[in-house]
Amino acid sequence: MTRIQKEKLFSGTLAFLTLFACSILAFILFAVFSRGLSALSWEFISSEATDFGSKGGILYQIFGTLLLMFASISICLPIALGTALYQTEYLKSSVWKKAFKIFMASLNGMPTIVLGLAGYLFFGKFLGIGVSWLTGALILAAMILPTAHAAILEAIETLPEHYQETSISLGLKPNQRILAVVIPHSVYGIVTGALLGLARAGGETAAIMFTATAFSGVSIPQSITEPVATLQTHILVLAQEATNPTALANAWGAASVLLGIVFFLILGAKAVRSRLSWEPEQ
């Protein structure tokens, strides 16, 4: 075999494997949506579940997932932004900077089930909020904190040094500099961080299954100490009834909605990352 033939064979094999890797996504989309779309209807997403989820719709599940997503990001975002700003703009000691990295990494490396359980003990038991959507939102906020923080930090760190220097040289104080330069430049990081955080929170199950949700008999919570139903836990329960065809159909329907929400957010984050940044310099 000549060198050229060898190379052709090699690249051909790689091309095939790459195509295969990419087709996994296509397969997943097809597998979920082909089964889910038949269950999907206006009625399905606008009515409540009956018969332990095997009949009826997923209205409150959608509501619960969205509630947890948005509550957790509203808690997480100020903390992520504040932490990133403090780290880059105020903190001088390199020892502490390292400590911040380590603690964020531990939070990021924490398996979500562990985070959920520890979070429940603290928020649910110790603070007495119980199994409730607020407990879930707090746990999810802790879970997505590293994601949002990393996106914001990256945006702040790529801020060209001479923008910072120029604003310092004009006599701006740190807070004025943050408002004038750092935050405007980092908007895209904040938005991407928020969207990726939302997507992660929306897709998470293990952290909330014992801590924030109830399977049946829940509607819109009347107080912060009540649990919600979510798409994730709904799918979890229905998946374990794999023998009941209507239950399974509803699980596929719920999975389609969940995938739709999550993909929408990820694609949004991708679009933002390329558009919203300050125009590059010449």
Binding site: S169, Q176, V181
Partner: protein, 253 residues
Amino acid sequence: MNENQFDIKIENASLYYGSAPVFKQITHYFASKAVTSVIGPSGTGKSTLLRTFNRMNDRLDGFRAEGTVWVGGQNIYEENVDVYALRQNVGIVFQKPCVFPKSIYENVIFGIKRLQPERKKDFAGIAEQALRKVSLWEEVKDRLNQPGLSLSQGQQQRLALARTLISKPDILLMDEPTSSLDPRSARAVEDLILSLKENHTIILVTHNIGQAKRVSDETIFVCNGEICESGPAEKLLENPCCQETRDYLNQGR
């Protein structure tokens, strides 16, 4: 000569970056309302010296200054110095023009907008005045709302200068302000320096000996962590006494 006539003096100052001194025990009185150019081989810390005068080096982890650095009658490395007021009084222009991705007008009022928001209605007038000072007004008056980055490099550098002049600094620091410009724009900036020295004490770091000759009144030559030689520009550049200075000047020819 009365000592208080000097806007900037350094006395027995040592500047450290990490543990190694960048400058050891240097003393110099900078001529007021005049241009002093700082020349010397690359890597000798000319920028570090320049940035000492408005404490821009504070940001560097491990930077330390010993001795006294007097700016406007105040030892600026003492405690309780208002660095923010200091920096408004000591403007700096960098090597590469720094223009924010905002409109020309927003770029000019960038600092004052945050520092004196209560003077909002005066901004337009102040901006015009500053742009006239750097002879940019005629070129941009009809397109103040266009992006600052649409200007040529030379115009951008003058815009940066206008932005600095707005807070009415007494002292201007210039860190190779023309090295990224084409010769014509560079000349325009040099002309500006000459017109600004009437009201400002200017310190100019440059690699361009011709430029030092054209614009400066005094020149100091730095190398090996000290000020080897200083004196009237004409004399130092034409007839240096120090061997290092001679070597450096000869390289350029």
